[in-house]
Symmetry: C2
Subunit: 353 residues, 2 copies
DNA sequence: ACGGATTTCGACAACGATGTCAACGCAGTG
DNA sequence: CACTGCGTTGACATCGTTGTCGAAATCCGT
């Protein structure tokens, strides 16, 4: 159906195209395109005519069509496969990506995986089908070999928080092992030798790393970990609370806890409160959370820096998009132990020194 | 440049197109398209050949090109103009949108405005340029007339948390006025008559509504609000803390506070702690926050339900996208007062009844 | 006034995909 | 045997935009 002038006038209900603008301005679509894109070499008279037509028709360029035609094919969009856009870690990461992307006029597509491996693939597919220029992935599945094709096809893929398996790619990880070890060293230094471990799903790579750090640190002090004081697979606050209740009311309860994830920390705190042990039993949590400093006692944590991780990931992405080449590299972002009170409750084995 | 067979074999570095698939399978692009889209009326032999070619070339359809050609032109993407993807309100809203969108295979573009009116327009532009099928907007500017064109062009636009100005559109709002009034009634019922108000930027519509509710509730009880106990434009935790410190150490300090926003609430709590007044001065905050129940005293709040607001907004969007028509409507999502302790500290005017 | 350089402009094809439609092959019918 | 009808298939145009390239108009210096 050809576009006639009278149609254009009547067509307030539909979006104007460059053809419509060109027709109204009495120029070719190509010239209209030139004006819209601010190219030089168009006579002032035509520039004016096109600009008036643009305003009159409220023309908005179709960026997807433009990207399709353009040589680079860039869509100026990055896909972020996150754990859950609503949790603080993911959303801080998301925000960091956005901040860097904003300076380049790039948008972020974000989606939540909820630890569902199938969902991870679905989201990656959805983002690649929409021609995302790059992907940021917090993997939930146990293998990301399916991403090899995207990477060889030139799409930068950066893994964040958890390392890739089955494929070589850049990764930005917290130093989970060192962070967990620091927590344990801190507790031992405050006189604890019987330190309970409460952790997330053992399928999650970071959880495994933190357990490893916990065990290594204990072994550094010649302490043999008590198997029944190590509990995995606590994926909800309530599961963590139940586990902490059980351990604390058992015979020979731990004198301190290392809680290896946010919700686990909070669940454990609830349990200790209920048992009125929160001023007696020490606790260090992995991953900081808002208001940790306002609780009684304030909660000592090993803080990650998800915002910084996002900044690093975004930097890698844009360096790759700018054409830089390098071997896939893993970047460790350090953690920081923040003593606030709960981790400084002294235990029964004060240091001799 | 034409696609030759040997090019296809060598072209592992570039993304395969439907042309490549068709060529390798020995069929026309149209037939390949039919197979990829699962249309009927293709002989089993060709279906097989195409599927093999798809697998061999790791073909992934270009959804943006498809959307461009398709009659509906839907991109299966919704733009969300949020306050800040990293704050709990926005991210809960975001997540609700995602949950509903997921069931329709629709993705969410999200961006943060940070209360910057210019940024609001930029994001809307970016989303419409990318042909988002619909927009969810938490406005920060004082006028959204610029969106009228999108709406008449048939793009559903739903305002959330704050009403639109200068344009008619659906809106999903918390019942700010009633919620604020409920907080004040609650405090009065516990013996308070001198209730300080600490609020966010007065340019934000919700802040104005909450102040209005506060004033009306006071007036219902025949209380004249004290002008110097009303402080606006507290947009950071620290500004709120400073204001609470100032009011509380002034002569004739309020016996209770209504803090009209999240960070303001937390800032006020910090101030009261520092002055050791947190067990003496009552406080009700607007908007719930995690761990409010673990503080000492636990914090009484008027809870909004951003997740529900997102669900309602998403429902409106998809009903519009499905072709339903109705006059723009405002949906009020009720708030809920959650007594936890800080709001039940009794004041100097216990009720006679 | 002339030739050549420069500027301005539009026709055309193409990006990757699909709607339209006509052509083809093959079976069944009169 | 010619004809109809159905199921397959591909040629072509098109979505909105821009890269390429040559034509036309304008400019300059001599």
């Amino acid at each position: 159906m050809p576009h006639h002038a009278e149609e254009i006038a009547a067509a307030v209900t539909t979006r104007a195209t460059l053809r419509d603008v060109a027709m109204l301005a009495g120029v070719s679509p190509k010239t209209a395109s030139r004006v819209v894109n601010g190219e030089t070499g168009v006579s002032p008279a035509k520039v004016n005519a096109v600009q008036r037509a643009v305003a009159q028709l409220n023309y908005r360029p179709n960026f997807t069509a433009s990207a399709l035609r353009r040589s680079t094919g860039r869509t100026a969009a990055i896909g972020a496969v996150l754990e859950n856009v609503a949790n603080p870690f993911s959303s801080a990461l998301h925000r960091a990506l956005e901040d860097v992307a904003r300076s380049r006029d790039v948008m972020i597509f974000a989606g939540s995986v909820d630890e569902d491996p199938a969902r991870e693939k679905i989201l990656v597919q959805a983002f690649t089908a929409r021609q995302a220029d790059a992907l940021v992935v917090v993997p939930a599945s146990d293998n990301q070999a399916y991403l090899a094709h995207e990477i060889t096809a030139g799409t930068p893929v950066i893994f964040v928080d958890r390392p890739p398996v089955g494929v070589l790619a850049d990764a930005v990880l917290a130093d989970n092992r060192a962070g967990a070890a620091a927590a344990v060293h801190h507790l031992v230094a405050h006189g604890h030798r019987d330190i309970g471990y409460l952790g997330d799903l053992s399928t999650i790579a970071t959880a495994a790393e933190r357990l490893q750090g916990y065990k290594e640190a204990l072994s550094d002090h010649g302490i043999r970990p008590q198997p029944d004081h190590i509990v995995h697979d606590l994926h909800t606050e309530d599961a963590a609370r139940a586990a902490a209740l059980r351990l604390t009311t058992g015979r020979r309860p731990p004198t301190a806890y290392f809680t290896a994830q946010n919700l686990v920390t909070i669940g454990a705190i609830r349990a200790l409160r209920e048992l009125h042990q929160h001023e007696q039993i020490a606790l260090v949590g992995f991953d900081d959370f808002p208001l940790a400093d306002l609780l009684q006692p304030a909660v000592t944590v090993v803080a990650q820096d998800p915002f910084r991780m996002g900044l690093v990931a975004a930097d890698l992405i844009f360096r790759r998009l700018d054409g830089q080449r390098w071997e896939p590299t893993t970047h460790l972002v350090p953690t920081r132990l923040i003593p606030r009170g709960s981790g400084e409750i002294t235990g029964p084995h004060p240091r001799q020194s």
